[in-house]
Amino acid sequence: MLKNAIVVKDVTKNFKLYYDKPSTLKERLVFWNKKKADVHTVLENVSLDIKKGETVALIGVNGSGKSTLLKLMTKIIYPTSGKITTEGKLTSLLELGAGFHPDFTGRENIYFNAAIFGLTKQEIDKRLEDIIEFSELGEFIDSPVRTYSSGMYMRLAFSVAINVDAEILLIDEILAVGDAHFQEKCFSKLEELKNSNKTIVIVSHSLHSVKKLCTRFVWIHEGKIKMDGNEKVIDEYMKVCG
């Protein structure tokens, strides 16, 4: 019996839709009797167990709730009802380069960025060479990040994120980084992580690449899980939405 890495139990998430959200005191006082907001249910009673070592792809059309589910797993937002528990160190790659400061050098920013992921100084020191090598930035690593091209920026950010060494990796549509060569490198790094028994959850629209990488596919449709299983899910999904 494999251990669960992520357990999602009866999770419902509502978002309030404000049509002119009062954020100042004056607006609150003046529009105090205005209808507050509409409630929009993004996820409805979703339950999902992800075992340790599984590589899972969340697929579905835009607005189906996949990214929300991923954000709930990382504890950036919290469910309206239900419970989510995770087991092990978790890293989420929702956006690359969080915490980068443009005036500091690439090397300093590696420390800032990795620290946000909860690494200590020694852990970062140990990975520093790997990160720099993976990013292929060479001598630019000691230039301020504001002088980087967007491609270089993304490469550095991805290199940090992928080298964090978490047990659970949550990835939101960031496989399209850099040129074809770098993308291939990222992909093989993910393969490597997968083979070293890490748990990976990916939200992606590039069905082709997730099909190669993942072993389990969860199709989310209008806030509910429509199908859950092996590659056949993708084929079904392609029939409906492709």
């Binding site: 969080a98 005036d103 909860g118």
Partner: protein, 256 residues
């Protein structure tokens, strides 16, 4: 809670570093600005106030700089701290980390700045011939009181600011008012026996500034009893602030 903060200690460290060095990065004087600013302020007061007040303390410049440097730490912490969660919206929406790191690093970087600027106080004490007393060893106690008080305030204000953006303007006004209700440019003895004296006593920053003055300027034992009561009270205040912050922080990513 402590354990999680410990796990994220590197984030706290880099954040403090970013606050201290990032703020003036690109400017010519760099970090020196943190010290030039209060010095210029002191200069202005030192020129203006002897005209307004008929008689001032001897060593008036030294007298006010001992008040102004801790006050700079306090008002910077409140001003930056109140908007810190809002200002970091980008990472709050994208990464999980213990959110209380943000207000803690604001107060901590302010404290480090202040401790360095204590050298300025030292220079003034030597130049004015006042010199030092062993009571300076009590400095950490006073710093702790101010640290806890500032942290308690901004834990609450930074969290509420996300929901009611007016707060930062209200707070700015309150802090400006508090400047005059705190014995920085004057000594509290001037108001002995009037209701204003009670007001000063109720103001935590008043007690704190008085204590700084006791150890540096008057070279006497500060009122340790009221200082310890203050530390206890501020600690409690911090705990309450922490719970409010924790409660409100669950909605940060959706509201910013």
């Amino acid at each position: 809670m402590i354990k999680e903060l410990y796990n994220y200690r590197e984030l706290l460290k880099t954040n403090v570093k970013k606050e201290i060095r990032g703020k003036y990065k690109g400017s010519f004087l760099g970090i020196l600005w943190s010290f030039v600013n209060p010095l210029l302020m002191t200069l202005v007061y030192a020129i203006v106030f002897p005209f307004i007040l008929k008689s001032t303390e001897p060593h008036y410049v030294t007298f006010i700089i001992i008040g102004i440097l801790p006050w700079t730490w306090f008002t910077n912490s409140i001003a930056l701290g109140t908007t810190t969660v809002l200002g970091n919206a980008g990472i709050i929406k994208k990464v999980y980390f213990p959110r209380e790191i943000l207000p803690i690093s604001v107060v901590t970087s302010g404290m480090i700045n202040f401790l360095i600027s204590c050298l300025i106080i030292g220079i003034f004490l030597i130049c004015s011939g006042i010199g030092f007393s062993p009571y300076i060893l009590l400095l950490p106690v006073i710093v702790l009181a101010q640290y806890l008080f500032s942290l308690g305030v901004i834990l609450i204000t930074s969290a509420i600011d996300i929901y009611v953006r007016d707060l930062e303007y209200i707070i700015n006004f309150v802090v400006n008012m508090l400047f005059y209700a705190t014995p920085i440019l004057y000594s509290p003895e001037m108001f002995a026996g009037t209701p204003i004296a009670t007001l000063i006593k109720l103001n935590p920053m008043g007690t704190i500034i008085n204590a700084y003055r006791d150890i540096f300027f008057y070279k006497q034992m500060p009122n340790l009893g009221s200082l310890l009561i203050l530390i206890g009270g501020c600690f409690l205040f911090c705990v309450i602030g922490y719970f409010i912050f924790k409660k409100l922080s669950k909605g940060f990513a959706e509201e910013v």
